[in-house]
């Protein structure tokens, strides 16, 4: 479990239900844990200074 939670359990359950995920299933606690860990892992993206970088949505390298 990450040290800092970006998402409360209540918010998680609300979002999960909104996304059509069965929140009555046995796997929900495990999913909550994975979501927490995933979002915590993405926190390092905040440390990258992206000020001058637009998202490159063409994906293809030059020459394509």
């Amino acid at each position: 479990m990450p040290e800092e939670s970006r998402l409360s359990k209540e918010a998680f359950l609300f979002m999960a239900e909104s996304a059509g995920i069965d929140v009555t299933g046995e796997h929900v606690d495990e999913l909550f844990s994975i979501v927490q860990a995933t979002l915590a892992g993405l926190d390092s993206l905040k440390e990258i200074d992206v000020t001058d970088a637009e998202p490159d949505m063409s994906f293809a390298p030059d020459g394509a």
């Binding site: 996304a19 796997h27 995933t38 990258i48 637009e54 490159d56 293809a60 020459g63």
Partner: protein, 470 residues
């Protein structure tokens, strides 16, 4: 001719014998089908085998060649396709029983090109379910097993392609590489895996995992076979929106054996990351050899290497969940639980996080391109460890214990982010007899330089000639 020797010939070797009619495609296919019969109970490389269709195709190829209609180096060569490459009239499961009865009406572009070249499809290869994992786990069709030690993973997601190729079940196989799924099983099985530049090989007719990270590519036993395969499957395809309009060279022209003057950069950060010291030493030995052959090998700094994991995680998970959203709504309980959890977790990645990852991707790409202004190639390990045990949650890389997925994708993800070509080739074996691998990456669409260096190294060593004890 000894059937086992036929199974271990490269496409380059077989093609000469087939063209000169010293060996028939029927003999080639029969040898491979016998090899599959003998090894498949252990390896589980295939989801669908096509013995009758393959024998019929071999007889047609034999008749055509006798009639003077030789189509080229892949005519009569046995091929296996990862089971997410659509094949007309042949079920394509994407590694899930949900699609156990899905029979595509048309071939994917890669399958069409193989057919046009006269290659013979032996079957559809096992894979990590929906290509969403780097180990080769599949409860629906059975886990894949590494021919060097069946208790170990093949690597994934194209695990059946790795095991089939190194065990002599197929001469050429294909994989798709989103975070390393061609190069990881190539490294852990001890074969050659090429992830071509994004857009160079059509994705049309492949089940996507992540639209902006997916790269189809060849998995073979020699660099020459990678070049021969690229000569067939590379090229623009109007059916793929990301397909590149570039001139396609003859990739075999790269196979000169000469690396004099080639500048190879070695990111210092690759050796500061968790890494089995024996793997690291094997890679340094390989680079020393390339230097002794005339390449200029020098350290470079790649500070954003550490950012590859969060960038590709955000993009891959968001895109995979978007693609599979309908499947999740309908059949979540039929998915392999770890895949279901990953797909559901991806729904929690916000658009802001996804776009921030794409912004970071721009910077990551810019830094990698700057590195490749001073050198021709970037080199390092493909994998930080040898093949782990099947279902192992963690691996030990040097003094660090880390999750199997981040470990196995540590060195491969960067080149999915940038779309640059990257190849994995064998560069040694552990005391336990497990393969080590060297990864070489180049500038966009410069497969020639990647193949040139890989081939020169391969020709100076014997690693690719070793056979697994199966």
């Amino acid at each position: 001719m000894d059937p086992l020797e036929i199974c271990y010939m490269s496409a380059g070797q077989l093609s000469g014998l087939i063209q000169s009619k010293e060996i028939s495609p029927v003999e080639v296919i029969d040898a491979h089908l016998a090899r599959i019969d003998a090894t498949e109970p252990i390896l589980n490389s295939f989801i669908t085998l096509l013995p009758d269709e393959a024998r019929a195709a071999a007889r047609r190829a034999e008749a055509d060649i006798r009639a003077g209609k030789y189509r080229g180096p892949l005519h009569g060569i046995p091929v296996g396709l990862k089971d997410l490459f659509n094949t007309a009239g042949v079920r394509t499961t994407s590694g899930s029983k949900i699609f156990d009865n899905f029979i595509p009406a048309e071939d994917c572009t890669v399958a069409t090109k193989f057919r046009q070249a006269g290659s013979i499809l032996l079957g559809k290869l096992n894979m990590h379910q929906f290509a969403y994992g780097p180990t080769g786990e599949n409860p629906d069709y059975g886990h894949m097993h590494n021919p060097w030690d069946p208790e170990l993973v093949t690597g994934g997601s194209s695990g059946g392609s790795g095991s089939a190729t190194v065990a002599g079940q197929c001469t050429i196989t294909t994989g798709s590489d989103t975070g390393g799924s061609v190069r990881i099983p190539a490294a852990l099985c001890g074969i050659v895996g090429l992830k071509p530049t994004y857009g160079l090989v059509s994705r049309h007719g492949l089940t996507p995992l992540s639209w902006s990270l997916d790269h189809p590519g060849p998995m073979v036993r020699t660099v020459e076979d990678a070049a021969l395969t690229m000569n067939v499957i590379a090229g623009h395809d109007s059916k793929d929106v990301a397909s590149a309009k570039v001139d396609i060279p003859d990739y075999t022209t790269a196979l000169t054996g000469d690396v004099k003057g080639l500048r190879i950069g070695v990111p210092e950060e690759y050796f500061e990351a968790p890494l089995d010291p024996n793997v690291g030493q094997a890679v340094r030995d390989a680079l020393d050899l390339l230097e002794s052959m005339g390449a200029e090998v020098k350290p470079v700094s790649f500070p954003m290497f550490k950012d590859a994991f969060p960038i590709s995680t955000a993009i891959l998970m968001a895109e995979a969940s978007a693609f599979h959203r309908d499947l999740l709504a309908k059949d979540a309980d039929k998915l392999y639980p770890p895949i279901r959890l990953r797909l559901e977790a991806g729904l929690f990645i916000s658009s802001a996080d996804y776009l921030r990852a794409q912004q970071a991707r721009t910077l990551f790409d810019r830094q990698t391109r700057q590195l490749l202004e001073d050198v021709d190639l970037l080199a390092g390990p493909t994998e930080p460890v040898t093949a782990p045990k099947i279902l192992a949650a963690r691996v030990q890389a040097g003094e660090t214990s880390l999750g199997t997925t981040p470990a196995l994708t540590q060195y491969t993800r960067p080149y999915n982010i940038t779309g640059m070509p990257a190849i994995s080739i064998p560069c040694g074996f552990s005391d336990a007899g497990l393969p080590y691998a060297l990864q070489l990456a180049g500038r966009p669409f410069d497969e020639l330089t990647v193949l040139r260096a890989a081939h020169a190294y391969e020709q100076a060593t014997d690693w690719h000639k070793r056979r697994p004890p199966i």
